[in-house]
């Protein structure tokens, strides 16, 4: 990252409710989130030089060329506008793309916005998910998307000797954290037993191990240093960005560890000058579409050694002491995808919004207690192959 030309700050964020089904069109949801981000940044659409759209497969909204379809609701009308896409990693990749728009010196203010309306795919978006599989090698076997998570979770548990009871604690923590998130879809006070007694979907994955499909949108406003300093006293700087993709041949690599997440994290940490991630990072939002994924990704982010994220954690007290809002290293204080919901791209961007609010001290009831200065958000996607990472500092 030798020649990043300019520092870039986040100066505003917006988000809609996350819900299983919403009456609003995708454009209307986008408008709500974009408008809120602009208002909190204290600017109007006229101040925005360019817009970056993030949205996962067209098959969810059921509109081909979804980027173009969403354009006017995203404020992209007659502006430089682009949709970026790296599957489930899109939500964090969208502000990364907006970052290079500004860091390059080409634009001063850029709106990054992500939307998903998964309810259009009826009765369940699972049908659209199956089209991500190779049509010749894999689809004839009749797969559904949960298969790959179940296989990965099993491999992770088997290689490290991690127990399902431990993994379930992540769901307990995140759903409880979400009780304090005003947009949350599935906040709940549940126990490990509730998770273990929930419907078996694809063993070892049970119903309460999984985040729900959702409708929703989220947005952030990015500005170049000279503009950010004029507009706010509390800019949150984007200090590191990283992304990395492995091939779609997911059966050809060992699923116990997401190496591509580690590579993405190394890129972002190097840029941010972070040498000892667990010591230097105060709050983290790793991607948690499934509970074990938080552990998997926290390890990829090098916040814990391989297989050790849940080491020594036996009950609720242990996990909150380690990763709660007043714990050693607060993880997913938002409530994560498990609690807040999972409108794919919007969920990733929700994590970036959360780090923004946490670093500004504006997270209200969700505020972590360690006076955070440095935070990291990460998303993941596709066939066990995408890692996107962003490091932010107050």
């Amino acid at each position: 990252m030798a020649s990043v030309k300019r520092r870039v700050a986040v100066i505003g964020a917006g988000i809609t409710l996350f819900r299983r089904r919403m009456r609003e069109t995708g454009r209307e949801l986008s408008f709500y989130a974009a408008k809120m981000a602009l208002e909190t940044a204290g600017i109007t659409i006229r101040d925005v030089d360019a817009v970056v759209c993030g949205s996962a497969p067209d098959a969810f909204d059921g509109v081909h060329m979804k980027g173009e379809y969403l354009l006017d609701g995203m404020g992209g009308h007659n502006k430089p506008y682009v949709r970026v896409y790296v599957g489930g990693g899109t939500g964090v990749f969208t502000p990364i793309a907006a970052w290079w728009h500004v860091a390059s010196g080409h634009f001063d203010i850029v709106l990054a916005i992500a939307e998903e309306k998964m309810s259009s795919c009826h009765p369940h978006p699972q049908k659209a998910f199956t089209t991500i599989f190779d049509p010749i090698y894999t689809r004839p076997l009749g797969p559904n998307l949960v298969w790959i998570f179940a296989l990965e979770m099993q491999r992770y548990m088997s290689v490290h000797g991690v127990k399902k009871e431990q993994i379930a604690l992540i769901s307990v923590k995140n759903k409880r954290n979400a009780l304090d998130h005003p947009c949350a879809q599935l906040p709940a006070k549940i126990t490990v037993q509730d998770v273990l007694n929930s419907e078996v979907m694809v063993w070892p994955v049970q119903k309460l191990d999984i985040s729900p499909p959702s409708d929703g949108a989220a947005a952030v406003v990015l500005a170049a240093e000279h503009v950010a300093k004029r507009l706010t006293d509390d800019p949150v700087w984007i200090e590191g960005v990283g992304w990395c993709l492995d091939s779609t041949y997911w059966t050809n690599r060992d699923l116990y560890y997401p190496k591509y997440v580690e590579y993405a994290a190394r890129m972002a940490y190097k840029m941010a000058g972070i040498k000892n991630p667990p010591k230097e990072i105060d709050v983290a939002e790793p991607y948690d579409p499934f509970d074990y994924k938080e552990a998997h990704h926290a390890e990829g982010l090098m916040l814990a050694r391989k297989g050790e994220y849940l080491k020594g954690i036996k009950d609720e007290d242990d996990i909150f002491a380690r990763y709660g809002r007043d714990g050693d290293l607060p993880i997913c204080p938002s409530g994560g995808l498990l609690g807040v919901g999972n409108p794919i791209a919007a969920a990733g961007l929700m994590k970036v919004c959360e780090i923004f609010w946490q670093l500004r001290g504006e997270a209200g009831k969700r505020q972590v207690k360690n006076d955070p200065r440095t935070g990291v958000a990460q998303a993941w996607g596709d066939l066990m192959q995408v890692g996107t990472v962003i490091v932010m500092r107050a």
Partner: protein
């Protein structure tokens, strides 16, 4: 071990399949107003508080100002042909018995326009700037769909 390519009974060149999904598209906040209006025989637009434009079909926000539109307003069901085309084939490429005229119609006082069919007019009679008025389906037959307007016909 590695082998030379053996003789195979056939080459497998293609794999056939389809991608089929069921969709439910909600009309959205603005769309619900519009289609409910059609059922009542009214065309509803939305007014921007900033520039005053009236958008038809209505939008929750003004695409120019990015302001939330504050008012739902009825617009006349009369307007002007902005551009038109004559279709000789149907949606699946099948030849039509009678050619059909489709026009983009800007309703009086509105921004934007409706794509709709022209009726009671021969293709060679249509022209840009032509004044047209909606012909509605009978009240009991309207379903809250764009086809609640059967077509637009010329007015003198």
């Amino acid at each position: 071990m590695s082998l030379e390519r053996p003789r195979l009974p056939h080459e497998i060149r293609h794999w056939f399949g389809d991608m089929e999904c069921d969709y439910v598209y909600t009309l959205g906040i603005a769309g619900e107003k519009f289609y409910a209006g059609l059922k009542e025989g009214r065309i509803i637009g939305s007014k921007c508080p900033s520039c005053g434009a009236i958008w038809v079909p209505p939008s929750l926000y003004c695409p120019e100002c990015f302001e939330e539109t504050s008012e739902w307003v009825e617009v006349p069901d009369e307007g002007t042909v902005y551009t038109f085309t004559v279709a000789y084939v149907g949606p699946d490429g099948e030849p039509l018995e009678e050619p059909e005229v489709y026009a983009l119609i800007v309703l009086d006082g509105a921004n934007g326009g409706l794509l709709h069919k022209l009726g009671e007019v021969r293709p060679e009679e249509a022209y840009i700037g032509m004044r047209v008025k909606a012909v509605w389906a009978p009240e009991g037959e309207r379903k809250g769909a764009i086809t609640d307007i059967k077509y637009f016909r010329p007015v003198e």
